[in-house]
């Protein structure tokens, strides 16, 4: 009886109605969000066409804009891996932002204090960034594994603790005395990530990001690690009975993810911003959460989705100064589509709860 339903379900997902296509929900949520933003634009006295046109022009038109967008994609992709990987093991890592911050500051500590051949120092800095990200998740991880404490609570707490720690460092011990804001000294020229031009000029972090996303895809879909991870993520008790070291798998995925977040921070510090300062991070760690969630089961989807978010991020500036709308409007752009997406998805995948009298 139920086997029959399985077949039916499979047929359904290949059905012909638009509503059943996987593309339906993302497209609808984007269109709905654009509609809302268009209304807001009209209220503000700007033509919606101009507004959206400026958004995409600012993100995609010209090599400079394109380069900014691509560079913005890198930390977003890495930060979403930091959510994606642990989530596969059933661990909801909300601490990406904190891990990213401590990763960045660690990379800066290395490049500001170690001298040597650039390749060595940069490698060391990147490793330090990963290490720091990893350390930032150790407490929530241990609390989860040893005490069963909800990681949602603990990673949020770690997030803010890490952010305050970094703020303390950049306004205190590591502050650039001549700077107007809390900031570290800039990374020495020779210890920055090398750039190259392939159509647009970007730093080599793009390879790291692409490699890690592709690697994650390969790891989760083609290796025994992936199968075991899936078992741990969807049913740890079964995995345990199958002889899989559940806690070890969770730890590996979580530490790997956190290392990605740290790496995102390190790469951004050494490849784009060259320093860690107040407000230097634009919440990539938080944005990684909806990206990972939107990517669903396919980690390769992280790249286009992160690119989409990067478009919003970089296009926002041009949109703002060309049309005069408040810069904060972009937060609506970032929040609303995901809000609509999760709602539509929930609506479609399971019928909503019936309201009883």
């Amino acid at each position: 009886m139920q086997a029959k339903s399985g077949t039916a379900m499979m047929l359904n997902s290949y059905g012909k109605r638009f509503w059943d296509l996987p593309v339906a929900v993302p497209v609808l949520s984007l269109l709905l969000s654009f509609l809302v933003v268009a209304v807001m634009a009209v209220i503000f006295g700007v033509s919606p066409g101009t507004l959206l046109g400026a958004l995409f022009e600012g993100a995609l038109k010209g090599r400079f804009a394109m380069a900014s967008t691509v560079k913005e994609t890198i930390p977003l992709a890495l930060a979403s891996l930091a959510v994606y990987l642990p989530y596969r093991a059933g661990f909801f890592n909300i601490g990406g932002q904190g891990q990213l911050q401590v990763g960045a500051i660690s990379a800066m500590v290395v490049v500001l204090n170690v001298s040597g051949p650039p390749l060595m120092v940069v490698t060391l800095a990147v490793l330090a960034a990963m290490m720091a990200g990893l350390l930032a998740v150790v407490v929530p991880l241990l609390l989860k594994i040893k005490r069963g404490a909800s990681e949602v609570t603990t990673t949020i707490m770690m997030n803010f603790a890490c952010i305050q720690l970094v703020n303390a460092l950049i306004t205190g011990a590591m502050k650039d005395a001549s700077a107007f804001f809390g900031t570290t000294l800039p990374a020495p020229e020779q210890y920055r990530l090398p750039e190259f031009t392939l159509g647009v000029t970007v730093h080599i972090g793009i390879f790291i990001a692409l490699l890690l996303v592709a690697g994650t895809y390969w790891l989760t879909s083609r290796t025994t690690f992936g199968v075991r991870l899936k078992a741990v993520g969807s049913k740890p008790s079964v995995a345990e009975a199958s002889g899989i070291a559940v806690k070890k798998m969770i730890a590996l995925a979580v530490l790997g993810g956190a290392a990605c977040a740290g790496l995102a921070g390190g790469i951004q510090a050494l490849g784009v911003v060259y320093r860690v300062a107040e407000g230097w991070s634009k919440g990539w760690g938080f944005t990684g959460i909806p990206i990972a969630f939107l990517a669903g089961k396919n980690s390769l989807a992280i790249i286009p989705i992160a690119f989409m978010f990067a478009i919003l991020e970089t296009g926002a500036r041009y949109m703002q100064f060309m049309t005069g709308v408040p810069a904060a409007l972009i937060f609506v752009f970032q929040g609303l589509p995901v809000l609509v997406f999760v709602s539509l998805n929930a609506w479609r995948s399971s019928k909503p709860n019936k309201i009883e009298r």
Binding site: M1, Q2, A3, K4, S5, G6, T7, A8, M9, M10, R222, T223, T224, F225, G226, V227, R228, K230, A231, S234, K235, S237, V238, A239, E240, A241, S242, G243, I244, A245, K354, E356, R357
Partner: protein
């Protein structure tokens, strides 16, 4: 066959006025599965009704609809002749005098017994309930029906039997006139079952109606006035107890005759010991001793049955043997090698495999496909992977083979296991366990929740394994199963082995007493 089945469920001669419950034309679908199809069910005041059928027949679904947990897609429910409103919920069912006790108790384990009992009665506007008078009235009910529960203790500290009593008191306190019990005896000893049935008869005398959802035919015959049989979501019929016997009911349930008992082949004396357990003791997380100095062995080709009421250490025993829990004392030897400190993986490589008690808890990952589930244990070994990289073709071939060997009903091997029926899921668990010829199988409740066909299949498979020389430890609370399959029977009570006898020396009455903790078998070796 139809001559002995009077369709009383639909008969007009049942006086409508005395009808406590009348359900007509009830249909319900889950997704594309039609769980109930045009069911009619009526219940008189003061009767005990057995609702029987195989797993998946729709018994619980029908009762859940009556109780308002599910909403029916079609059909009408009348209570005392009045149609229920379209929006029917447990709250309204409770108010209308229907109480339901689920197989998995619906108790808030962090709240006290009294809070659990009183809560359904509380109205939202009742800011400050008078707990004292509630406690007094609940105590009265307890006294009246000879229940002994401390009203102030937390539910999480109670045994399963006590929790069931709490559920019953809760239903009565709500003024239930119709009491629905879903598989009430699955967690009880035979003696507790007796007590429950006596209590149900008292209820009946006082004019309550009872619906007993069960698949145990003996119980059905013992207590019910009438018996309603469902099969595959359809109503087969309702018969009076006097006209029924187990054969008739079984035929209605499964559409074929009562299956002849399987018989285990005798064990050669020369068989070597494959699993030896010495003085095994285990404390749980709360520091309570749940396994107490267990010693036994299993020989090659031998099936050793472990009987006992659920919750007497069986789960802990299997976990300890498989390597899921660390023991405090004692040793586990697999083919003469001390494996006490070995991991699950090491033990499996030594030839010990596990058929878990709860398919969904320990058996299959519902989100993963059939192929992945079948090779889950051996995924890291050749030929399924090389250097950590999966070999998809090999895995698919292996899964296809298992699908045909175990006749698993599925459109393909890449279908999520969650889409399969329980029986097919259990076959996957079996296929996985037997993928590499094991030396020992720890089989826990291998047929629980399966229908007749699947049960028969699993039991046959276990016998085959024994014939091939595999030692099997069969842990089951189904006495029939144990008696049917085992060479030797151990009885567990309260973490101890209280009896160890060859099957031909077992006395059924004594077994029941031992399971309930009465007496100790002096022939224990």
């Amino acid at each position: 066959m139809h001559d002995i089945i009077s369709q009383t469920g639909l008969s007009k001669d049942a006086a409508a006025s005395s009808c406590a419950v009348e359900m007509t034309g009830i249909s319900k679908s889950f997704g594309d599965v039609r769980a109930l199809d045009d069911i009619a069910f009526s219940l008189q005041a003061g009767e005990v009704r057995a609702l029987v059928g195989e797993n998946g027949a729709g018994k619980t679904t029908l009762m859940n609809i009556l109780y308002g947990i599910y909403a029916a897609d079609e059909g009408v429910i009348r209570l005392g002749g009045r149609e229920i409103p379209h929006s029917w919920s447990p709250r309204e069912a409770i108010r209308a005098g229907i109480g339901m006790i689920h197989q998995h108790f619906a108790l808030i384990s962090n709240h006290t017994v009294l809070e659990n009992i009183v809560m359904p009665l509380l109205k939202w506007r009742e800011i400050s309930p008078s707990w004292k008078s509630h406690a007094k009235r609940v105590s009265e009910i307890c006294r009246e029906y000879h229940f002994q529960i401390d009203l102030q203790s937390r539910v999480e500290d109670l045994s399963m039997g006590e929790r069931q009593q709490v559920e019953i008191v809760k239903a009565l306190y709500q003024g239930a006139k119709v009491l629905i019990l879903d598989e009430p005896t699955s967690v009880l000893t035979p003696q507790q079952t007796e007590a429950l049935f006596r209590f149900l008869l008292i209820l009946k005398k006082r004019g309550h109606s009872v619906v007993l959802v069960t698949h145990k035919l003996d119980e059905t015959m013992q207590i019910s006035d009438r018996i309603t049989v469902l099969r595959g979501g359809k109503l087969i019929g309702t018969i009076e107890r006097e006209q029924a016997n187990p054969q008739i009911i079984a035929r209605m349930m499964i559409e074929r005759d009562w299956i002849a008992r399987l018989k285990v082949a005798p064990l050669p004396d020369s068989a070597a010991v494959v699993l030896k357990v010495r003085n095994l003791s285990l404390n749980n997380e709360q520091g309570i001793r749940v396994l107490d100095d267990l010693s036994f062995h299993v020989r090659a080709g031998e099936i050793v049955g472990v009987a006992g009421v659920a919750g007497n250490g069986q789960v802990e025993l299997s976990d300890a043997l498989v390597g899921l829990r660390r023991v405090q004392q004692g040793a586990v030897e697999i083919e003469g090698i001390n494996s006490t400190r070995h991991t699950v993986l090491q033990r499996r490589k030594a030839g010990l495999v596990f058929i878990p008690e709860d398919r969904h808890h320990r058996g299959v990952v519902l989100d993963m496909d059939i192929a992945e589930n079948i090779v889950l244990n051996t995924i890291s070994e050749k030929p399924y992977s090389r250097y950590g990289v999966l070999r998809s073709q090999v895995i698919t071939d292996c899964a296809e083979e298992a699908i045909s060997a175990y006749s698993i009903k599925t459109p393909g091997c890449r279908v999520p296991v969650g889409n399969l029926s329980g029986g097919n899921q259990q076959k996957i668990v079996m296929a996985r366990a037997l993928l590499r010829e094991p030396r020992i199988i720890i089989a826990c409740q291998p047929t629980r929740g399966l229908d007749f066909g699947a049960t028969e299949y699993v039991r046959k498979k276990l016998l085959e394994c024994a014939q091939r020389g595999i030692g099997i430890l069969l842990i089951s609370s189904d006495l029939d199963e144990i008696l049917e399959l085992s060479h030797r029977i151990l009885v567990m009570f309260s973490g101890k082995i209280v009896s160890d006898l060859p099957v031909d020396r077992v006395n059924l009455d004594q077994l029941g007493l031992l399971m309930a903790g009465h007496g100790r078998n002096n022939q224990l070796d």
